[in-house]
Amino acid sequence: MASMTDLKKRKSSIESTGQITKAMKLVSTVKLQKARQKAEDSKPYFDFMYDTTTSILKLSEEIRHPFTCGNGCKKKAVVVITSNRGLAGGYNSNIVRKVTEDPSLDKKDVVIYPVGRKGKELLMHKGYEMGMDFSDSISAPIYADAYLITKMLINDYREEKIGEIHLVYSRFVNTVTQEPRSLQLLPVDPKQHTGDVDANTLMNYEMEEQEALEEIVPKYIASLIYGALSEALASENGARMQAMDNATSNAEEMIEDLELEYNRVRQDSITQELTEIIAGANAIS
């Protein structure tokens, strides 16, 4: 049986761990609220963008453009959005699993463009090829970052270094549910865009439709990436909040058990001392 001092030490160590996890939980709660607001603010822009892109794609169904038909290259770029810090439960590994378990993403043909150091480390360890790293943009996503990532990806796509662009991130469903999700950004799949846009709406373009596609698709992708970044940040903080909440309640449980054991040991030692005193007193008399 552990001694009283041992138990005391263990208890105080768990207590301080519990304090840390509790503080971390509070911090992520505040961060979550902010990130959530931001994710919601980016919704109208994205929705509008989606409508416009859908109507353009509908109009230009016959147009053969690399953005809709592909460019023949077999390499697939995958933008993987994870977090820079750990202690967020299964958040990062769930996203990484989404990549590794996707049968259409063969390791040989995949280049990872990591956003978030944790995902980068995990995938690098598994032997995936790495493209440019954008991890800095996840701590506070701004539109300019999404724009930069898009510009680089589109450039590589135009030069036929990559033939497909995918995006893997964690969708923010609610505070307790985050769901890893994979999207194909390029070539744009018109089948994914069968929205309720009225095909009869007459829309004129100042320039040729081909040119419009050329201009609008990159903006569309940038808005998708921006939306994904903001949602990922909310998911990350949601996941961390939950993980830290669990950790705190585990610590409390352990402290309770230790308390019980400590009291038992203390009682034992008191009883033993008493027995010894009485035995001693009996021996003298």
């Binding site: 603010d41 999404a146 829309m203 373009y205 903006k219």
Partner: protein
């Protein structure tokens, strides 16, 4: 016909403007244009330029740098990647950017850099212009 139309300007991180207007001016790939209510449906790509919103009570100005715009007879929707009110513009920074762009223009002659510097110069000039008028 109604004498106003609904204008909404949506930026990635916020709704920049929403309201009923009598006319809106902007710069598209074809140059400066003004749109009145009842315009035929059209989509245009924006160039860095001044955005002038004509409300019934007066006009408002903003710097609109990139994005596109959808016109329908009763509504104009602007998807702006970068848009700023005059008071949000950092004039000092714009001045620096202007000088930098001019230097780049003088130095480089390759097409790509020329285009980039020209765009940067346009943006800087618009910012300075708008901020000076508030």
């Amino acid at each position: 016909m109604a004498d106003t139309m609904h204008l909404s300007i949506i930026a990635p991180d916020r709704i920049f403007y929403e309201g009923d207007v009598t006319m809106v001016e902007f710069r598209s790939t074809d140059g400066y244009r003004g749109v009145y209510p009842g315009h035929v449906a059209e989509t245009c790509i924006l160039q860095p330029g001044k955005l002038v919103i004509h409300e019934k009570e007066g006009t408002k100005m903003a710097a609109l740098h990139s994005g596109f715009l959808e016109i329908s007879p009763s509504e104009v929707r602007v998807l702006a990647e970068i848009v700023e009110w005059p008071e949000e513009i950092d004039v000092e920074r714009a001045n620096k950017a202007k000088e930098h762009a001019q230097r780049q223009l003088a130095r480089y002659h390759s097409d790509m850099n020329l285009m980039r510097a020209e765009l940067a110069l346009q943006r800087a000039l618009v910012r300075i212009d708008i901020a000076g008028k508030k």
